[in-house]
Amino acid sequence: MSPQEPEDRAFDRYLQGDSTLSKIYKGTTLETPPAELDAAILAEARQAAATQAGKRRNQALQRWMIPAALAAVLVLAVGLATFVFEDGGAPLVPKPLRSKGSFEQRQRPSKMLDRQTPLQQQETTRQPMGGAVDEPIRRRESEPPQSNVTAPASASSPAEQPTTGAPADAAPLKEEAKREQRPVDKASEADQTAPTGAMAPKDLAPQEWLRRIVELRKQGKLNEAQSSFAEFRRRYPDYPADAILK
């Protein structure tokens, strides 16, 4: 047996916990950290945890901030698009230059423009297409015809004569008097006598055409009004007719 063997056995016993030396050491005073040191360390740990929680809240907030901003932008954009393109893709907001130009260009070569009253011509050329669609109507209702109009100044506007089916501001005074004398046959009479009433719808100004369609509707001639409107739409696909027809 080598002299190292008892030492090896003793060391093994020590590692297994079976050691007098360990027992003596366990009997030493078990110093513990002072209470104030414990408190300081625990307070530091608490503060670190609180800071960490705050940091995580901020991180969570930042994580949601970009998606929330994108969602807000999206909602705003959709809202605006819905507002602008309300009627099947037709913009409510006019495109003044292009619309006005194209509309006027389409109107200029037609004979119909020559047949319009000066007031109608004025309104047609002055009003931007998408401007206020019913603005000419209102103006005509509120203002008397101008003096250089061939029709008499006292001629009523179409709005005041819903049964005529055509504006009477171009009709002669005689015809007006006849209408007053024979109110029963007013509509047919107007159709026969009024120059615009005798015109084919395609030769009318779009506003006049629409008024005629309105009249047809009021008279219950729905099929006729519908076919007339279809023809109108073919002729003036971009004309904002819906506002008037409503």
């Binding site: 190292q4 008892p6 030492e7 056995r9 003793a10 060391f11 016993r13 020590y14 590692l15 050691s19 007098t20 030396l21 360990s22 027992k23 003596i24 050491y25 366990k26 009997g27 030493t28 005073t29 078990l30 110093e31 513990t32 950290p33 002072p34 040191l37 414990d38 300081a40 360390i41 625990l42 530091e44 740990a45 608490r46 670190a48 945890a49 960490q52 929680a53 995580r56």
Partner: protein
Amino acid sequence: MIGNQSDEELMLAYGNGDLKAFEIIYRRHSGGLYRYLMRQCGNAGDAQELFQDVWTNLIRARERYEVRAKFSTYLYRLAHNRVIDHYRRRAHSATDKAANPGGQGDDSEPDELPQEGVLQVEDHLHLKRLTSRLLELLAELPSLQREAFLLREEAGFSVEQIAEVTGVNPETAKSRLRYALAKLRRGLRDEFGE
């Protein structure tokens, strides 16, 4: 239940902000760590400073903590490094030649290795004198041998864990522990004639 969780689980929980987990870890390890530092430094003031530093380092490292080894190994590794720094700051002091980890005297062979079993605990008074003398002898040990002994006694580490904490191979750790035990036994035997 949180109290039954391992140290590693608790440390991960604290890394996620669970303060209760830290309190349990602290209760489990504060005493042993404090005594380890007390015996290594030799005075309460330094030990308390180092003790607080170790826990502060642990708190700061909570979010980076990964389970690569036992938590206690990790904790005592922090303490070991802190003690080394402490010794380096006091390197000019001639009172602790063993402060340098590369010191020559630490692992020198003792003349003989006293055998276990020569120490007989007879009564409390005798035990008290023995423990008092043991602490004196412990303080006289080279720091690396003392550290090996303390890591074994306070943290319950195996030779391999002592090697891991102190950054040496297991054979070196085993050697340090054996020499520490031998010197302590011899000192007690010489003192009490047992």
